[in-house]
Symmetry: C2
Subunit: 343 residues, 2 copies
């Protein structure tokens, strides 16, 4: 009595056996056609394809994942923020991974502490993802990755430059040094720095590159103004700097900080770039329309995304080596926020 009158049939999705029956072959042959196996007669292949088309058959990924023991899913862990760098990178990676035939599963964490990152990674492992990408720009986040068994394919992005394993980063020091030299070359005696949060590798690297460039040039190294990445904190730091007449050049750790500094300078009546020069970092799309247009440093996020995938894929296929780093050198973009110092 099961499966008799057509009216009673529940709307079950067609499975491989349904295709097989319609095409007059075994389900294994259907599987072979689907997976591009060579030993299938052309005529058979066409018959199977026609049957697939006619039934609107979609292979069941869960069944495939079960029997093969692997999924086509890449798990990503990222912070719940709209910071330009991480967002751009994430979007670019999602696009690249899709193009490579992977599904991208994103897990956002509210904070970049060790426990949150660990939980997010464990979540992905529960899902038996093929590989994991973690945007791990802080020490706490990076530490969490040390707990992950070495045999699971994992790439850290923006992580600790000193870490083992696969890593993609931007050469923060080179970018910061370029920005600093650009200001020194314009004639400034020294360059002040408003940094990002101290626990971010990006921020630390930029501080380091800035300091190194100053020392190399024999310039005095002024104290760092610590901030977070926001325009608001840049504004607060800027209010201090605006009051100090000896400040003629500022390197901000990102463009939004630079915007806040710009705002503070303007409020205080210090003209940019006539009295104070400013350089940012990131090259957000709006940077060219700040007042004045901001000179900044541009990392290539698309390249970072591509590199991430290139490190991850061999690891997924079991051909990846242990430790491997990809370091991208950012590029200085000169606009109108830098000039010679007054006097």
């Amino acid at each position: 009595m099961e499966n008799t009158s057509s009216a009673v049939r529940a709307a079950r999705e067609p499975a491989m056996t349904d295709v097989a029956r319609l095409a007059g072959v075994s389900h294994q042959t259907v599987s072979r056609v689907l997976n591009g196996h060579p030993n299938v007669r052309e005529q058979t292949r066409l018959r199977v394809r026609a049957a697939i088309e006619e039934l609107g058959y979609r292979p069941n990924r869960a069944a495939r994942a079960l029997v093969t023991g692997r999924s086509q899913i890449i798990g990503v862990v990222a912070q719940n923020s709209t910071l330009y760098g991480p967002s751009s990178l994430l979007a670019a990676f999602e696009l690249a991974a899709s193009a490579a035939g992977f599904v991208v599963s994103v897990r956002r964490v509210r904070h970049l502490d060790r426990a949150s990152i660990t939980a997010a990674v464990e979540h992905h492992r529960d899902q038996r993802v093929a590989g994991i990408v973690v945007i791990a720009p802080t020490a706490a986040a990076d530490e969490a990755l040390a707990e992950v068994p070495a045999d699971i394919p994992l790439v850290a992005v923006d992580g600790d430059p000193e870490r083992g394993g696969a890593l993609v980063t931007v050469d923060q020091e080179a970018g910061a040094a370029a920005a600093t030299r650009h200001l020194l070359d314009a004639g400034h005696e020294t360059v002040w720095h408003v940094s990002g949060p101290a626990d971010w590798f990006d921020a630390a690297g930029r501080v380091h590159g800035w300091r190194h460039a100053l020392e190399t040039a024999g310039a005095e190294v002024p104290p760092v103004s610590a901030a977070d990445w926001s325009a608001a904190s840049g504004y607060r730091a800027g209010q201090m700097l605006a009051r100090m007449p000896e400040v003629t050049a500022v390197f901000a750790a990102n463009d939004h900080l630079a915007l806040g500094i710009l705002r503070a300078m303007t409020e205080r009546g210090r003209r940019v770039p006539d009295e104070v020069s400013i350089v940012g970092f990131d090259d957000v799309p709006e940077a060219a329309y700040f007042t004045p247009p901001l000179t900044t440093v541009r990392p290539d996020f698309d390249a970072a995304a591509t590199d991430t995938l290139e490190l991850l894929l061999p690891r997924i296929n079991g051909t990846g080596s242990g430790s491997e780093h990809r370091v991208l050198t950012p590029e200085l973009v000169a606009r109108s926020s830098v000039a010679a110092p007054p006097g």
Copy 2:
């Protein structure tokens, strides 16, 4: 000879039967413990939990999905952009969906044309996701959704306000009208508008709200300057407006356009807000640090994300009705870019 000497065993992940054997029960009992079935003796439950812990057992989601016929995955379709609105919404949704126990799979499309959206939705259906969310802010994107069978759980965000089905949007007209009235109330005779791309519902809604507010107030309706969402296009529009002395108030369709306009006005020597007042839309985090700080309209993206999930979940569970809309009213944020007109 299979499964004999311990040294030979390949590293297979523990399965339910392994847990069962260790706990001295059947695998079905393990399943019951895992799924919180009530009829399990407390002592048995503890024994099973201990065995799970000892083996580091993780349930195989693929096997579960195969037998139950449903996954815990929500598929999202979004454009490959870092536009503030969509990015914020996406991040907020990912967080909310994770909290509700779902995995979020993101598919980015390069362009919002019909074919791309359709392909992305089909991709998610291939994966047999439990539900789909599409950020569909253009007519072409929205049209693609009409092809999707009504029985699959789908929520459109930022889609056509006229569409059937589940939809979450911001009340663009109310926001635009509030911005326009704010400028009229400051004493301006009329308000000029720099719009977003015409094929975006957001842009069209803002134009409509602006026009309606002007007409209601009996003010003249000047021609619209069409732009895309970028600061660059705002700058170009601003260059035109800056040359026209009769322009004393501008409502920009988003904050980045406003920034470009601000830049153009400044270059032309037209002071904001003394000579020209400007209002934006979105309240990007930096808006408060533009020169001058930008008066703008803030949508609540967290609320939109929550609403999206609230519309989607009942549809996944089969208890969702046909057409249902959630409309969020944005809020005016007054800063310093608006003043009375000169003279």
